[in-house]
């Protein structure tokens, strides 16, 4: 039997946990019960979905598992050429994500820290404003959605996004998808795609794949308008920042530092 590396192990573990597969390798010790597959009935609904990322909790394992899980569950192709890469969620250095908020002498652990980034599901999204076909729009619950069948591939939304959160299929993505998840669509060449806060999982009463698979529980997802929600309580008790708040886009992804 071939031995697998740590990275590969984490990847498989995370994906299996989210897909609810039996007979999976045991998750690493750092994993908490909350990462287990949660079978829920009904549809998860909210007035305003929001994500809180606790940078104190976020570990190297999180960064690998969350990304790999999301990308496997959503049939995101693994393209090695960085120019043509597709990303729904990925790790970036703190300095890059918070360029305007990085002071020179901040704690070195913060500077070194990698941050998970994805679509901010802005309250005032520039990407939906510029789309000439309404192929991307903001739902009433705050999720910025995409219609991959309507998108004409003009990439104006990518140009408008101040976070680089959107990806374009510069070629047919299907040869770059390992084992496709049959329950989710693949995309065609020439369309834009991005994180959807797992709208399809929320409809099944599930939490987003990254949140569910995150071993440390650093990702918290919930209704910002519900004052008893975990996201609200975290935001009320800890100091949080958002990406490029000065642009008025109102990101719904908050980072606790």
């Amino acid at each position: 039997m071939m031995s697998i590396g740590r990275r590969e192990f984490l990847r498989i573990a995370g994906t299996c946990a989210v897909l609810g597969l039996p007979g999976i390798p045991t998750p690493p010790a750092s994993a908490q019960p909350s990462t287990r597959f949660v079978a829920a009935s009904g549809v998860r609904q909210a007035k305003q979905w929001a994500m809180v990322v606790d940078l104190d909790k976020l570990t190297e394992a999180d960064r690998i598992i969350c990304v790999e899980t999301c990308h496997r569950v959503h049939n995101v192709p693994q393209i090695d050429n960085p120019r043509h890469e597709i990303r729904w969620i990925w790790a970036e250095s703190f300095k890059r994500v918070f360029q305007e908020q990085t002071n020179e002498f901040i704690p070195s652990n913060l500077l070194k820290r990698a941050v998970l980034v994805f679509c901010n599901h802005c309250g005032n999204p520039p990407c939906t404003r510029v789309c000439p076909t309404q192929a991307t729009w903001r739902r009433e619950d705050g999720i910025v959605m995409m219609d991959w069948h309507r998108c004409i591939g003009c990439r104006y939304c990518m140009v408008a996004c101040p976070y680089g959160s959107r990806s374009f299929n510069w070629q047919d993505p299907r040869p770059f998808i390992g084992m496709a998840n049959q329950d989710f669509s693949t995309r065609t060449k020439g369309v834009v795609e991005k994180c959807t806060f797992c709208a399809e999982r929320l409809d099944q009463g599930l939490r987003p794949a990254c949140v569910e698979s995150c071993p440390s529980g650093a990702l918290v997802f919930g209704d910002l308008q519900d004052e008893h929600s975990e996201v609200r309580q975290l935001l009320a008790s800890r100091f949080s920042i958002r990406r490029r708040p000065g642009l008025g886009t109102q990101p719904e992804v908050y980072y606790l530092i």
Partner: protein
């Protein structure tokens, strides 16, 4: 002579043949692009738009610049431009067609382009750009057809065409303003986030368009019996001079605000463009060529004696045109993407397929322009000159 050439002059067919070869080459590469996807271009996840959209932007300016002959002629009854107004309108028509082609080849899913009409999105500047470009195309087709038809019959054009012509004047301004709005309303792209962008676009358009028109007039004089005359060319040269002066002034205004305020998000793009940052300097040689040519062209234009000298004027128009093509058809769009929102200095170089497709589109524009000019010039020759019994190509 153009019409003689049309009857089979090897020179003319040679020209058409060259254009056709370029068009076919572009088309073959486009088929390859449709099959593989836009990955065969130099664009990337950081540089989302490249050569295609830059050419589109530049050519909208050329199209809009027809207003520089239409306005003096129709609004101020500046008769001198009567001879060349039709050429300006034909240039506008050909440019709009190439604009639309450049946007189309840039689409990842061109067969879905109709979605722009099926799901009209008034909040999108791209939607409005489509509206104004199609409108401008139709306006110019109608105006040029009706006026040329009347001229051919030596009658005055019908009265209803006048309000249509008046409408085409603000419409020309609108096409380039809306094109600027595509860029200058995006909070995340500091390089374009400037209220001066639309005026700058217009100024550079009113310099590059008439500069091209001067070159075309000189060419028409050389290859046909129709002479646009010295006076309209000189007046056009004056327009180029004023517009280029305004353009340089606007660029300097942009530089002042950027560098005096010193906001890093704004200065970084200018530093990348003019000096190169962290080893990324692909555009730096180009922009300096643009600066040198622009300044040299402007100096040659500003001195009346040199401007009135047609060989010198040819050089200054070429210099201005190349300078503004680099500025708008290359650096303006790409610099907006470098650095990326995450601070990445991903550079962009157009690929051979991308350049061939672009050349193919330019060739389609040139083919259309050749055909239209031929029609226009033929009417001009017949109405403006006595019949010539022995036709002989004019030299120089």
């Amino acid at each position: 002579m153009l019409e003689n050439a049309l009857k089979g002059s090897p020179k003319y067919w040679g020209w058409i043949g060259v254009l056709m070869i370029v068009i076919v080459a572009g088309f073959l590469f486009y088929l390859r692009q449709v099959e593989f996807g836009l990955g065969i271009t130099g664009m990337s996840r950081d540089v989302n738009w490249g050569f295609y959209i830059a050419q589109f932007t530049f050519l909208v300016g050329i199209a809009a610049s027809a207003v520089m002959v239409v306005l003096p002629y129709y609004l101020h009854n500046y008769i001198v431009f009567g001879k060349i107004t039709i050429l300006g309108e034909f240039l506008a028509i050909s440019s709009v067609v190439t604009c639309i082609l450049f946007v189309t080849v840039d689409l990842g899913q061109p067969q879905r382009a109709i979605n722009i009409i099926l799901y009209p999105s008034p909040r999108s500047m791209l939607f409005w750009d489509m509206v104004v470009l199609i409108g401008y195309f139709l306006l110019n087709v109608v105006i040029s057809r009706v006026t040329l038809d009347a001229e051919g019959k030596s009658i005055s054009p019908p009265g209803w065409i006048r309000p249509v012509i008046y409408l085409s004047i603000p419409w020309a301004i609108s096409i380039h303003t809306v094109t600027a709005f595509i860029y200058c309303g995006l909070g995340g792209r500091s390089f374009w986030l400037s209220a001066i962008l639309a005026p700058r676009f217009l100024a550079s358009a009113f310099a590059s368009g008439p500069a091209l028109l001067i070159l075309l007039c000189l060419l028409v004089r050389k290859v046909t019996r129709f002479d646009p005359g010295k006076e309209p060319i000189q007046k056009l040269a004056l327009i180029v001079t004023y517009a280029m002066t305004a353009n340089v002034f606007f660029i300097l205004l942009e530089c002042f605000t950027t560098f005096y305020s010193g906001i890093p998000e704004h200065t970084i793009h200018f530093r990348y463009l003019f000096l190169g940052v962290a080893g990324a300097d692909a555009l730096t040689p180009w922009i300096w060529v643009s600066v040198v040519m622009g300044v040299a062209g402007l100096v040659l234009l500003l001195v009346p004696r040199l401007r009135e000298n047609e060989p010198v004027l040819t050089i200054s128009c070429l210099a201005v045109f190349i300078s503004l093509w680099i500025d708008k058809g290359l650096s303006m769009v790409i610099t907006g993407f470098v650095p990326s929102p995450l601070g990445e200095f991903t550079e962009y170089t157009p690929t051979i397929p991308e350049l061939t497709i672009s050349l193919g589109i330019y060739a389609i524009g040139a083919l259309l322009l050749t055909g239209l000019f031929k029609i226009g010039v033929k009417v001009k020759e017949e109405t403006n000159r006595p019949p010539v019994l022995v036709s002989k190509a004019r030299s120089g």
